[in-house]
Symmetry: none
Subunit: 200 residues, 4 copies
């Protein structure tokens, strides 16, 4: 009862998260000031501290929210239709979308920050664990009954490889403006992870 956050408070938190994400994307985590976030969120700086412990707490909440978004996107992949095709479409989109460099930069900055901030690290770890778990389910779904022929480590490894690919796309996207030549190469690799049983 004491700490039960009211609906109103929840909505206010969302406002802050929205505003903070925008500011962090625009200026980076350190350069974005609480004052700017407050202004963007349409509330006073002081009040933010009624909703969040501190600035770190905000970035942690953003990471959690982003994690949910990723999980939701993964859930969509489970719908009807060819999984490989849908994932390739997603990667192609990632390769083309250069408008999202600032979003990518924020993700990288969060990772860097997490390596020195235990609380944030916990959130990132948990987030990664959840995503990885869902990725494994996806792979098993994609392989169908043949999945049983593969040892769990293989499934886990493939999920990790998907993680490497998506994280790599994010990082390389910040490193260079044009990655078009990469698109055709994704297909065989993704297929190898999602649709193939191999002795290899």
């Amino acid at each position: 009862m004491s700490t039960a956050p009211s609906d109103r408070a929840q909505a206010r938190r969302q406002q802050v998260l929205e505003a903070a994400a925008e500011c962090f994307r625009r200026r980076g985590f350190h350069a974005a000031s609480m004052a700017e976030i407050a202004k963007t969120a349409g509330m006073s700086p002081g009040h933010i501290y009624n909703l969040f412990e501190n600035k770190d707490d905000i970035i942690a909440a953003i990471v959690e929210r982003d994690c949910e978004d990723v999980l939701a996107r993964i859930a969509e992949f489970r719908q009807e239709g060819d999984l490989l095709q849908k994932m390739l479409a997603a990667t192609e989109q990632a390769i083309d979308k250069h408008s999202e460099v600032s979003q990518a930069a924020l993700q990288l900055e969060v990772l860097a920050e997490a390596s020195r901030n235990a609380k944030l690290a916990a959130v990132v770890y948990r987030s990664e664990a959840l995503v990885n778990e869902k990725a494994q389910e996806l792979i098993q779904l994609s392989l169908g009954p043949r999945a049983d022929a593969l040892p769990p480590e293989e499934i886990q490894g493939r999920a990790l490889m998907l993680g490497v690919l998506f994280n790599g796309l994010t990082a390389l996207g910040v490193r260079r403006p044009n990655m078009a030549a990469l698109t055709p190469l994704m297909a065989p690799v993704m297929r190898r992870m999602l649709n193939v049983i191999l002795a290899d």
Copy 2:
């Protein structure tokens, strides 16, 4: 000739670079203070500004130095011996080395910083271009005469894929402590990039 830095100055610059890299790794770019860097480098804060324009200039120099290290490592790959094996060994090393999380974090932070710092971005872009070029040469070397059968875009795409893989390893390595299951999966993907001619 006019601004040719003396040997002494060069050595001092190296001291600062060493110290700054350590501080940046330990605390992050923003949290590391010039005072701390100066102390670590064994000189006064003021003198750093005789050697570098400003803090940004230091991180840029670090990126350039790191780039040279990468190029040197690539050059080693060109030596005698099976390229695929050597690169797999390198990735396996990357997968295992958890002591280097802070080094990885610094790299990610640099990328984030570059998305908002034009000068740093230029260094990062140039660095990536150099590495990608060398990666393409490596791939052609690995394929041998068969390389002629592949269109340039294919070579370029494969080099990009290597970039995605290494960058992805770096990022995912910060996201989770254990990536052991990934090791066996690297082989087929790397082989696909380095040793195979395929219609698809």
Copy 3:
């Protein structure tokens, strides 16, 4: 309306202006530190930046305030009584008051600063324009109906001469401690500006 500063903020600004003027007089513009000003004003250094853009902004505000003081003093001259007598009294006061050397020094320093600071220069120019305008009105008032016999340039020139005299008193007052012998000389010159119609 949007940025209408509250009464409280206005009062705080006045505090800072008062304190800064004192510090600037005591130490000079460059030597006076924001920390000292803050302490003198009884607030934290940080808070000053909620009230003023930066240090330059403070000196500009002081100049504007001083300008208003001058205009107010000029307005007093318009009251009943012999203008020439009142102005001579004012100059005599200026000649004798050696306690105000530091105030005079600040004015000179402001002028020097303005020659390299565009924003401050604008304030100084505007200030001078206002004062000169009022001085012309004063001269016309003093001459009465005879003023119509003089071309506008003559009026403007006389106003400028008054400016030269007061500025000259300020500067020379810093240059030497004793200017008593000057007092009797002011009368004929001032009369020439305020009370005489001449072919030359």
Copy 4:
């Protein structure tokens, strides 16, 4: 013998004075760094301290040199020809020369600085005393035998008034760009100081 400055040292000092004056004019006394002065003078920063005590010592030397220039100019006035005409020409020149605002600004800054720097104040006072003395001689020369009819205070007052006028021109010249209307007004005032015997 011990401190007898060699000719070479004297020449070096002149170099520094030249360079410093230029830098001070360009940037102001405080903003001009010793490094910049050294570079402009074509010598090392360290060596300047073999020639001058410190930065204040340089500005003091500049003031002394400028004083000599003024005295030299006054000496020229003593040559053949109508003194009033020559002085009016000088003031007209001062009124028109807007290229010299930075020179004027430096003079004002020096005065401001002198009010807080005893050593500089001494130089400024002495300089003013010398100039004033020469101005009195000039006035007596201009009046010729009639000068004997005037009490010394009157002569002193007139010399002071000349000082007020020239200092005022300097200050007002920084305050406003256009002082053309002032030119015709200088004649009667100057004549009053230089050529007239009055009961008034």
